[in-house]
Amino acid sequence: MAYADDYTLNELMVVAASRELRDGDLIFIGVGTAGRAFTVAVGIPIAAARLAQETHAPNLAIYWNNLLSPDLSQIPPRLTQHHLTTWPTSAQLHNCSDKNDMLSRRLFDVSFDSAPQVDRYGNLNITAIGDYRHPKPRLIGCLAQTDHFAYVKRPIVLTDLKKRTFVEKVDFITSVGHLNGGKSREEAGLYPGGPWRVITDKAIFGFNEKSKEMEILSIHPGVTLDQVLAEMSFRPLTPDSIPSTESPTTEQVRLIREAIDPNHILLVA
């Protein structure tokens, strides 16, 4: 297994996310708008899920937006409503009731989520910055992100590391992570679980088994601990020895470039 010398940051993030996926997983991937937001919400997760299917997880299934098991070798050239509805290669589409029931029956293993605010305990806010009744700005609401954090077994937060994103406490809890740490999530009546990993452009985080505080697991090659901490408004747990995030192999890079995203639809920004 040879490590690649030449890979992009997005490819490193794809490989890191792919490593967290297991054979037989049912994965939820949402929608994104354009540019970097699309790459983070859709591009990297889909490439990661596809890479897992091509390597260690051939039986992984993808639910993208409302499309179950779409043929991702044939992504429509334009993602307009008509093109999505008439995409001739997904097993099932546009059935919100089934998707909701699958969520609350806890059939999903992994979801990919991002948010403008993430806190020390992995709670997310996509609803309102500031006072909920007079927000500045008002954000998009909840969508199913709340449900992912309530029901999905191993939610993965995928977002760029920024000081204004990684805050001590979210202004509004849209999606319950490890709440106030310790056993507080279960005490509030939620299922065990909660966010599993936080994958960013600089480092990868998990949550401490006991305290449930965010904890650095690895830092990407070429990035220092100070650079990571400079982009966070709280100090995560930092073990004495922090490994470097494992680089992609030449085979993983080849698969991403030649088989998974040959037309540069996924990793756009």
Binding site: H82, A150, G189
Partner: protein, 293 residues
């Protein structure tokens, strides 16, 4: 069966100001946009919108100053970006917002469709949505397991407004496409006190009889049905036509800096009815480009 076919103006006249309305379709697809435009033209206001993801129609009502409250899972315009008019209203404290997750909002619509006083859900435990809305989200204990749950209030609108593909004069509405399995419009329809449907085309009853399995809104639920070709424009009625990106970019270019009035003067108040709107908003070339082929 009795004919329920009415004009767009007659349908909109049925809906008084202050009503709660559930709007079918989602974000930028297959919503009854022509009917919402007519409500605004008639000066109706103070609406409460109940939606799954709210989108363009809710934003138009906000722009027109006709929106009092929203209960939904999302507000935005998908790839066209933010719902600027709605956001300004919430930020100013003018629009009362009640946020729900998808599982919780679907549970509210199911409660209404089943005629139940509430639906239990565990989706909102620990959330800001529950903390800020004790009126509609209340803690209960499961009588079987003792688990902590929430009871959520039914989403039981005064009116549900839908846009569909084809229907007959009696209000039997069908999907012409086997592929389109959108499933929430019928739930919104069942939970409504009164139901108004606009469709792309009114067909003879004999056409409906050929494929009764495609009828997802039966006549007995419907109070009024309206023929409105391109009735979802500028949104998609996928299978028939795609969203009109140029029109949406213009809408956003007006709405982002707070010039909704410019858009409304051109396409809502500046058009006397749906036919006049179609003449001003579409050309034969544009209809050809948007139509699914």
């Amino acid at each position: 069966m009795k004919s329920k076919l009415v004009s767009m103006a007659e349908a909109a006249a049925l809906v008084p100001s202050g009503s709660s309305i559930a709007i079918g379709g989602s974000i930028i697809r297959r919503s009854p946009v022509a009917l919402i435009r007519e409500l605004i033209r008639q000066g109706k206001k103070d609406f409460t919108v109940l939606a799954y993801p709210a989108g363009f129609t809710t934003d138009m009502l906000a722009g027109a100053g006709a929106l009092k409250r929203v209960e939904a899972v999302y507000e935005g315009l998908f790839q066209f970006g933010q719902s600027y008019n709605f956001r300004r209203g919430v930020e100013a404290g003018v629009i009362d917002i009640r946020d729900f997750s998808e599982v919780a909002m679907a549970a509210r619509f199911r409660a209404a469709a089943s005629g139940l006083p509430f639906m239990p859900t565990d989706a909102l435990l620990g959330t800001g949505m529950a903390a800020n809305n004790p009126e509609q989200i209340r803690e209960i204990t499961c009588p079987f397991t003792g688990r902590r749950l929430h009871a959520v209030e039914p989403a039981n609108p005064d009116f549900t407004l839908l846009h569909g593909y084809i229907g007959d004069e009696y209000g039997n509405v069908q999907f012409p496409l086997v592929r389109d399995a959108d499933d929430l419009d019928p739930v919104f329809a069942k939970g409504a006190k009164r139901l108004i449907v606009t469709v792309e085309k009114i067909v003879p009853h004999s056409e409906i009889l050929k494929n009764p399995n495609l009828t997802y809104i039966p006549h007995v639920w419907v109070e009024a049905i309206v023929e409105a070709p391109f009735g979802a424009h500028p949104l998609s009625c996928d299978g028939y036509y795609d969203e009109d990106e140029e029109h949406m970019y213009y809408y956003q270019a007006c709405s982002k800096p707070g010039n909704f009035a410019e858009y409304a003067d051109r396409y809502i108040y500046g058009t006397k009815d749906h036919w006049d709107y179609l003449a001003k908003a579409l050309t034969p070339e544009r209809i050809f480009a948007l139509s699914a082929r």
